[in-house]
């Protein structure tokens, strides 16, 4: 269990300072082009790969960070790989999907590495995303670390009060922690609403 790094990069580069709007648009177009490429292994895939490999050193994304994130996506990709091994006819389509999805994950990694979510949120605000969604996204990114810390604290407290949970009980204790986490987030939401009102929110 780890707390997600909300602002991963410590040392900003030129790519970090570029307009988030531009970066999001470029990433979207880039992914669109990659996805629409022919559905078989093709030399054309070298072009987006070359662009990504050029951009990578420019924004100093650590290799270990990228590999860890790629591995998360790879679980699903490998699941589909097992399926396509059963059908020889679908193999070129699968291979191209494998290349495409890795290129696209890499693009998204470069985007998220160089652009804090707060800046993406500003772009989404200018794109007229409904205010309910904006408020939910903003509150969510603010409170994920708080709730993660809270759940860790609750588990520590549980561990200090009980013996190591038996296997049979592991699920119900964990469910208890999650249920309690929900109750605490509901209480916190109530307090946030009062604080918003106190600051003149309508």
């Amino acid at each position: 269990m780890h707390t997600p790094e909300l602002n991963p990069c410590p040392r900003p580069t030129a790519l970090h300072r570029a307009s988030p709007r531009l970066k999001l648009a470029v990433a979207f177009v880039f992914i669109g082009i990659t996805v629409l490429m022919p559905r078989r292994p093709d030399p054309a895939y070298l072009a987006p790969a070359a662009v990504l490999l050029l951009l990578w050193p420019l924004c100093r994304m650590p290799l270990a960070y990228a590999l860890r994130r790629l591995l998360m996506a790879e679980l699903f990709i490998l699941g589909v790989a097992l399926l396509s091994l059963l059908t020889p006819a679908a193999r070129p389509i699968f291979l191209s999907a494998l290349i495409k999805s890795n290129l696209c994950v890499l693009t998204m990694l470069l985007l998220t590495w160089t652009t804090p979510f707060q800046e993406i949120l500003q772009v989404l605000r200018r794109l007229r995303l409904p205010s309910v969604m904006l408020a939910t996204l903003a509150l969510m990114t603010r409170y994920v670390p708080v709730l993660a810390e809270e759940s860790r604290r609750m588990q520590r407290a549980r561990a200090s009060r009980t013996f190591s949970p038996r296997r049979r009980l592991a699920w119900s204790t964990l469910a208890g922690v999650i249920g309690q986490l929900f109750i605490r987030s509901a209480d916190r939401a109530e307090r946030i609403y009062l604080a918003m009102c106190a600051r003149g929110w309508k």
């Binding site: 780890h2 979207f28 992914i31 669109g32 990659t34 996805v35 559905r39 994130r69 998360m72 996506a73 990709i77 589909v80 399926l83 396509s84 059908t87 679908a90 699968f94 495409k100 999805s101 696209c104 994950v105 998204m108 985007l111 998220t112 979510f117 993406i120 309910v132 969604m133 408020a135 939910t136 996204l137 903003a138 509150l139 969510m140 409170y143 994920v144 709730l147 993660a148 759940s151 588990q155 296997r167 699920w171 119900s172 964990l174 469910a175 208890g176 922690v177 999650i178 249920g179 309690q180 929900f182 109750i183 987030s185 509901a186 916190r188 939401a189 109530e190 946030i192 609403y193 918003m196």
Partner: protein
């Protein structure tokens, strides 16, 4: 079940993005008209809660572990419209902050996990609760556990349909594999959903929106969600699911020019795509699904009976 980029073709991506946008639009309308302003921060906190809950791992046999998806849990706790918005926001953050799930497949992921799993699961929850003739703790826990299982399987079938419609994996393989795996995964999701709903019901029953009949859910919203989920499933799944000739084929046959058209069709690429046991694998999966549904229904009932003894059921005040 987060589809990465590159696994769907343009047509499927656009179709599912349209379906997802329609669903989120309905949810926004419902929330704007029915959610009191003091509950607004709850949406953000619920999204953060789902995200934080997904980081906790439930131990599964053999040293592996799994985590909650939380679609049905959110729908039971907050109602379907809020759940659609909450899960959509979780998926947006996972996509734009953690590169988990693709940008072009965001619509498909929202459709599968927020709308089919959240809303569809909520329908199953309500229906099961109604079957039990009650709003008691036991009925709610039972319905939540069963809906948790069912919605996981439903979402995986929708995902398999999208993969097949984009011709990435043939339906005859995608459907049995996805459905069978998720019938197992769903057991964990259902168990966790039931246990968590019970934990909240025990200490703060008024927080569980699904435990009481809702005045705020308008009938129109319900109908439009139902329509959307079924139209989506029909578009993604029906082209493959039906073993009988479809309308067009029936017309061709009855008009008598099937002989000319059928031959080239049978010799062309179809045989490469098919395994000798296709028909049987699909049918076997459907049968397994039906048996699994019955088993899950019984298991959820046994679970609810074991967890909520009849005498200790707290009477609603």
């Amino acid at each position: 079940m987060h589809l990465p980029d590159g696994f769907l073709d343009a047509k499927t991506a656009l179709l599912s993005t349209g379906a997802a946008a329609a669903g989120v639009g309905i949810a926004l309308r419902q929330v704007r008209s029915s959610l009191p302003p003091r509950r607004l921060p709850m949406l953000g906190l619920a999204a953060a809660f789902v995200f934080a809950a997904q980081m906790l791992n439930f131990p599964v046999a053999g040293g592996t572990s799994g985590h909650l998806v939380g679609g049905v849990l959110t729908a039971v706790l907050l109602g379907p419209s809020a759940a659609v918005l909450v899960i959509t926001c979780v998926l947006i953050v996972q996509c734009l902050m953690f590169a988990d799930g693709g940008l072009t497949t965001l619509g498909a992921n929202v459709f599968n996990m927020a709308i089919v799993s959240g809303c569809g699961g909520y329908f199953v929850f309500r229906f099961t609760q109604w079957l039990m003739r009650g709003q008691g703790t036991r009925a709610t826990v039972f319905a939540a556990a069963f809906a948790g299982w069912f919605s996981t399987v439903l979402a995986s079938i929708s995902c398999a349909g999208q993969l097949a419609l984009s011709k990435t994996v043939p339906w005859s393989i995608a459907f049995p594999a996805m459905a069978n795996v998720h019938m197992l995964i769903g057991v964990g999701e259902g168990l966790a959903t039931g246990l968590i709903v019970l934990a909240v019901l025990r200490s703060r029953p008024q927080l569980v929106a699904g435990a009481v009949p809702q005045a705020q859910e308008s009938g129109l919203g319900f109908v439009s969600y139902g329509l959307l989920v079924s139209v989506g499933l029909v578009v993604f799944v029906a082209p493959f699911a039906c073993p009988w000739p479809d309308g067009l084929e029936a017309v061709t046959k009855s008009l008598g020019f099937s002989e000319r058209t059928v031959h080239p069709l049978l010799n062309a690429p179809l045989p490469d795509y098919r395994l000798p046991f296709i028909g049987s694998a699909t049918v076997a999966t459907v049968v397994a699904g039906l048996i699994g549904t019955v088993l899950a229904f019984v298991a959820a009932y046994v679970l609810a009976r074991a967890l909520v003894p009849a005498l200790k059921t707290p009477k609603p005040k």
